[in-house]
Every structure is written in C-alpha cells, then in structure tokens.
C-alpha cells in the first residue's frame, strides 16, 4: 500500500504533539508494509529517515516565514497577544500567513500529483485544500486526521472563520475522518455537522523507549509542579497560575515550572507578578526535550480548556509523575489512574495539587498505578494497525 501523506511538521522540526505523533505513527506504518511519501513545508533542516520519504515543499523564500507555518500561528491569536494593547493582525504575522498556507498547498498539489499512491492522508487543516485537490486529480480516496480543531485552539473564543471553513470543507470532502478521541469526535459532529458514521476514533499512543526519566540533579528540595504546553488559550495555563496562587497559600515551599512558549507568555508572566507569586513560577520557554522537566516534577498538570488528546499526560506518566488532567480532554477518557478536574475549577485543581504534595500515600499509589497503566498502554504499532484497517475500509 502506498500513501501520500500531507502534514506541516516532522521531527526534528516540530512545535507540538503532531511531530511526535507522526514520527511514531509513520515508523510503525512502514514496518507494517505501508510506503509513505510525506510532503511538508520547507524547513531548512535535513531529514533522512529510512521508513518515510519526506519532500519539503521547496520554493518558499525564507526559512523564517516557512517556520511560522503551524496551525497554531493563525492571525486570530494575535488578538490576545499583548495585555491591554490592541495588536493588529498585520503587525504580528502580516497577511502573509494565509498566502504561505496557500503557497504550500499549491506546491503540495504540484508535487503530489506526480506521486503514485493508493490514497491520500492529510493531517490538520493546513493541508486540507491540497488534499481535496489531489483527491480530484489523482482520483484516489482522501483520509483526513483531525488532531485539533480551530475551536480547540482558540478555546472557542473568536475562532477564525476562514480556518473553520477550511476544516469543515476538508472533513466533508474526506472519504473517512480519523480523530484522536471520542471527545473530539463529539466536537466534529456538533460543531461541523460531520456524519457520525464517517468518523473513526484512533487514540494516540506513547513511545516508552523515549519517554522515561533521565538522570538529572535536582538541587532544590522544593516540590515541583509542572506545566508543559504552548502558552495559548487552549492549554489553560492561566488556570495553572490561579491554582498555583492557592497552593502556595497552603504549601509555600512549592515551585511551579512552565515549559513552553506562545502568544500568551507575556500575559502569563504579568499575571504571575500580579498574583505575587512570580518568585515561585518559572517560565523556561520552549524546549524540544521535556524529559528533564518530567524527571524533577512531583506533579504534572494539564489544565487544557479543550484538548483533543493530550500526549503530555502520557509522557509524564511514563516518566513516573502523578498526573492531573482536565476533563475537557481526550486523554481523560482513556486513563484511569490519574486525577481529573474541570479546567475552570481552580479550587479543585489546587485541592488536588495540595493533596498530592501533602499526602504521600496518594502520591506513591498514583505514581505506581499510573506507571503500571502506562506500561500496558497502546503503542504506535496499535495506532498504525488500526489506521491500516481504516485504509482498507476506504479502499474497498
């Protein structure tokens, strides 16, 4: 089976969960006999893998502009960028953003139409226009995987209508839609009116060989509560800070570490100062290898406002860290041994963080049971095998 796959990131070039997903997924897909040609935007980085043929859509003039091509860097986010001051769309990304998307899609169609394949598989909205065009040119079925919607990414505050229309069109044109949780499937049915029977859920997996504790010296005796994620509305970091404030009133010797960058970085730093906890909150920025943070964490929190899946929760568990996840996430439907809260319930989040810090039996029990659970968790092999079944379904 030959698959023409379209996506916008692949390790080592990655900014979020999709890169992690694609690496694990395509490697296993290839082991199961699928040949993959992958078209992505030009990154300027060399990518040589034996299990996948990667074509970087050349011709985009500057690397800097090309690297802005992630679905998270949409103009809408600019509205929340700096506190108080109105920032214009153009001042942050320029109108060039959509032109870049358009250009990538155009090149992807040009390149893709020469590829010999059985089906086309697109990941996330930026590749959907090309996917639709290629479906018509090649007369091959189109499978789309939806890793997150514009509604998720904006926390449903001013979703960009241009993006939602591209998402809707891609989902409607697809012969089969794959998404990563029942939570997300529900969103697609309710928000986009996609027929239920066309959507299949394939939950994500974890690579246990990679995600494990790494040796690292922890010099401070303070307990560490960890957040990992892009600093956008979607990831709910502000709730993490509100909870931190409450926790510090009861357990002062605690530190809050925030790994990730994003539009809200400045606002969040500002907020931590206003809350009077900035000496206890550490913004470390984006780091491609988060294992060292997991290795020193006592509690991991994923307070997402709307999270299609939430791979970081699995990563933390694999690194032996007790996990608190928001109920508004896909991962919460597949995990048993973790604590779950509504993202807006800051009091309850703080209650659970404090309990994990103050009641050692809870900490140990959760750590052990969640580690046992993750050892038996799905692997990328399962994900690949389930997708192949869906490929067969769409081809028959």
């Amino acid at each position: 089976m030959r698959v023409l796959m379209l996506g916008w990131e692949f390790p080592p070039f990655k900014s979020g969960g999709l890169g992690t997903y694609l690496l694990g997924f395509t490697r296993e897909l290839n082991k199961l006999g699928v040949k993959i040609t992958f078209i992505m935007p030009y990154t300027g980085k060399k990518m040589n893998y034996d299990f996948i043929e990667i074509i970087q859509a050349d011709g985009i003039e500057s690397i800097a502009i090309a690297s802005k091509l992630t679905p998270y860097a949409s103009p809408t986010r600019a509205f929340y960028n700096s506190s108080g001051k109105t920032s214009t769309i153009a001042s942050v990304y320029g109108w060039g953003f959509f032109q870049e998307v358009e250009y990538y899609n155009m090149r992807a169609v040009q390149i893709g139409s020469l590829v010999d394949c059985d089906l086309i598989h697109c990941h996330d909205w930026m590749t959907y226009p090309a996917g639709i065009a290629l479906k018509r040119i090649l007369k091959k079925p189109l499978v789309v995987t939806l890793h997150s919607t514009e509604f998720d990414r904006t926390g449903n505050i001013c979703p960009n209508p241009l993006i939602t229309s591209i998402e809707r069109q891609g989902l409607l044109e697809a012969d089969l839609v794959i998404t990563v949780s029942n939570y997300e499937k529900k969103q697609l049915v309710e928000r986009y009116g996609i027929p239920d029977e066309k959507i299949y859920v394939v939950h994500n997996a974890i690579d246990l060989d990679h995600y494990k504790r790494v040796p690292i010296e922890k010099y401070l005796s303070d307990k560490v509560v960890l957040f990992v994620g892009r600093l956008t509305i979607q990831k709910g970091c502000e709730f993490f800070l509100d909870a931190a404030k409450l926790v510090l009133e009861k357990v002062p010797n605690t530190r809050f570490v925030i790994v990730g960058s994003g539009d809200l970085m400045f606002n969040l730093i500002q907020k931590s100062i206003e809350l009077g906890i900035s000496d206890r909150v550490h913004f470390v920025g984006f780091d491609p290898d988060v294992r060292k943070y997991y290795s020193i964490a006592d509690v991991f929190v994923m307070p997402s406002v709307s999270e299609p899946f939430g791979l970081t929760a699995l990563e933390a568990m694999a690194c032996n860290v007790p996990v608190i996840v928001s109920k508004q996430s896909g991962v919460s439907e597949v995990l048993r041994n973790c604590l779950k809260v509504d993202f807006w319930d800051v009091n309850e989040l703080a209650n659970k963080i404090i309990s994990l810090l103050q009641y050692p039996p809870l900490h140990i029990e959760l750590k052990e049971n969640s580690h046992r659970e993750i050892k038996r968790f799905r692997t990328w092999r399962n994900v690949a095998a389930e997708c192949i079944e869906l490929y067969k379904k769409v081809l028959s």
Binding site: N337, L339, Y359, P361, E365
Partner: protein, 391 residues
C-alpha cells in the same frame, strides 16, 4: 430435616460530602445530607419498602412457615429515623410476626475491631441500645461488618452474651468441610453459622447474568438445589439491596422471592429457621480455628477490599491514632463523627484492587476514583484533628 437460614444485611453509609483542603478549619459539615437522603429515598423505594411488604405477605401466606433474619446498622437506623420513619415501621411489622430476627453488629458498620477491643465493644453496645430503643429487642446472634471474623472476635463477642456469630463459609477456614453444618468457635462458647457462598451468590450475583448456564434462575429450580444439598442447615446470606437494587425489579428478583417459600415447602425436609431457633435445634459438628481475619468480600475473603493499599492503610491508621484524644475530649459530637468516619464504606471507596476493571465497587460510590475518595477523607480527618487540637 435441613434448616434454611435466610439472612439479609441492611446498610447504607453516611457518605462524606465534597470537602477540599481549603475547607479544613472552616466548620463546614462533613456529611452530604442531601445526597445521602437522595440515595436512601431511592433504596427505600426500590428495595426496603417493596421487599419488606413482600416478606410480610410471605409470612402471612405461609402461616409463619417462612422466616427471615436481618441485621440493620445503626448508621442506617439513624438516617431512617430522620428521613424515612415509615421504613422502620415496616421492619417493626416484620418483627411483630415473630418470624423475623435481628442480629447485633457494630453501630457504625465499622472495622472497629482493628481500632481497639474497647472501641469494638462500645460500638456493639451502642447498636444493642439502638435495637432496644427502636424495636425493643435484644440480639442473640452477632454479625460483624462484612462478616469479618477470627478466634479473637469470637472470644470478645461471646463475652458480650452473644450465642452465635455469622461468617463466610470459605475453604480458607473449612478446608474439606461443608458450610452446611454448625461449627463451634475455638476456645469460646460461640456457635458459627457459615454462609453457603455458592447458593448465596447464585442469587446475589448470578441471578440476572445471561451468560450463566443456569439463567434464568427460577424458584422451583433453586428450591430443588436446596433440597439436594446435604447438611443440617443452609445459610443464605445476602445484602438486602440485592432485591431491587443490585438486581433490578426487571430481572424478576421479586417474583423469584415471591414463589420461593411455596417451592421450598414442596420439599418436606426443608424448613425456614430463625438463627436463634436453629442453634437450639442442631448441634455443632466440629470446631473452627480462625487465627487470621476473614470476611465475605470479593474473591479473596479477607480485608484487602478495605485495608490493602497505602491510602487505605494510612487513612485507617490516622483515624485509629486519635482514639484516646477523641475520647478524652468528652465532646459527644466529635466522638460520633469520628466513629462515622470509621464506617467501612469510606475505605472501600479507596480500593484500587478492582479499579482497573471498573468492577462491583461502583455501587452508590460517590467518587470518580479511589484517589478522590482518599483526598476527601483525609481532608475531613484533618479537619477533625484540627477541632480536636482546639477541644
């Protein structure tokens, strides 16, 4: 003659309400009165009232040949008196027929035996007092929480005047011997009635299980099994909520019970018995040595459903530790609430053993996970300790 001893355990805990770390010291009350009342209303409507009515009818239809035994916890009696006194009246009617017997137990449905002997005895006495004042009766048979039993327990309860105790007829204590005879406790003047778990669980668990080869279980078939079971007595011990809750009315559980006495009485050698009659009519055949605690729970028949993981052990140790200071405080409300926190259900909710499979422990469990159960419990206990330090 084979004596049939049907015994139903009647209990609903007083569940703890949401209590966060921030509530410690706030004076917020521990128990979720509304939620408990809602649960109780449901159980009363689905189980207690219709089942009591059915049993009363059966007693009168059979001219008293049908007999039944109960134990009702103090925690439940308290709640019924406050919200559903009509349920108590129906139990009273059953007792008035003289075809119904009540067993004694710990008032708080607790594992008080593991707190201290003194606390265990005090709770049994409290329960005795409650039975006296509510129903005017004095129990002769003892049933410990979840049928927990050992030689030591036999020693203590026999000294309190109990003639017999009920526990699980597990191979762990019986070996090759049958549960269908009376036994004698080791080194204590106490008779033991052992639960026939196969025949009991046929009703409690398998009744509505369609994959079971004997499904559907009919009254005549079950009576036939009873008639063909060798021994002096057959002890069928069930949670009373089996009727209408664990087994919904749609399963036909009430119809099964309605026809059972009639079908049983077709077999001339079968006879329904009150436990205190039974121990007069038949003699123990052997002595049972039970050095380790056993129970009727799960498949392990031990205390692991309540006291296995670290959270359960820690929570129990913490509640145990403060016995002396609670009693020294002479604060009646504090003492009562400390004891309410001993109710075994709180520890059951923290059980992680079956959590992975999402099994039986779900029933009326107010928590999403065992971890939530522990967090809430510890917050409440810390509040109680805080009050204690100020008392």
């Amino acid at each position: 003659m084979t004596e049939l001893c049907f015994y139903f355990q009647v209990h609903q805990p007083l569940r703890i309400g949401k209590f966060t770390f921030f509530d410690i010291g706030s004076g917020k009350s521990y128990f979720d009165t509304e939620r408990n009342k809602t649960y109780l209303a449901r159980v009363a409507k689905k189980c207690y009232l219709p089942a009591n009515k059915l049993l009363l009818d059966l007693i009168s239809e059979t001219d008293g040949a049908f007999k039944v035994n109960f134990s009702i916890t103090g925690v439940l009696l308290e709640q019924l008196e406050a919200h559903f006194p009509n349920v108590i009246e129906t139990f009273d009617e059953l007792l008035n027929t003289k075809c119904c017997e009540l067993f004694g137990e710990t008032y708080y449905h607790s594992l008080a035996f593991l707190i201290s002997e003194r606390e265990f005895i005090e709770q049994i006495k409290l329960h005795k007092k409650a039975l006296k004042s509510t129903f005017g009766i004095k129990p002769k048979i003892f049933r410990n929480t979840e049928a927990v039993y050992s030689n030591k327990i036999a020693d203590v309860v026999s000294k309190l005047g109990f003639k017999a105790a009920v526990t699980e007829g597990t191979e762990k204590i019986l070996g090759w011997r049958s549960p269908n005879y009376l036994y004698k406790a080791k080194d204590a003047p106490l008779v033991l009635l052992l639960r026939n778990y196969r025949l009991s669980d046929d009703i409690a668990f398998r009744f509505s299980e369609r994959s079971w080869s004997e499904h559907p279980l009919t009254a005549d078939k079950y009576a036939y099994w009873l008639a063909n079971t060798p021994g002096d007595c057959i002890n069928i011990f069930l949670d009373y909520e089996t009727f209408g809750e664990h087994q919904w009315p749609e399963t036909g559980i009430f119809e099964f019970m309605r026809h059972l006495p009639k079908e049983v009485m077709k077999h001339k050698h079968l006879r329904f018995s009150l436990a205190s009659e039974l121990i007069k009519k038949i003699k123990p055949r052997d002595e049972l040595d039970v050095p380790e605690l056993i129970s009727w729970a799960d498949i392990d028949r031990d205390l692991s459903a309540w006291l296995e993981n670290r959270m359960q052990k820690h929570a129990f140790e913490e509640v145990k530790k403060i016995e002396k200071s609670v009693k020294k405080s002479k604060d009646e409300k504090l003492l009562h609430e400390w004891r309410l926190l001993q109710t075994s259900d709180h520890f059951y909710y923290m059980c992680t053993k079956w959590f992975a499979d999402g099994d039986v422990h779900k029933y009326f469990n107010p928590y999403e996970t065992p971890y939530d159960a522990y967090i809430n419990y510890m917050n409440v206990l810390n509040d109680l300790k805080n009050r204690l330090s100020k008392a």
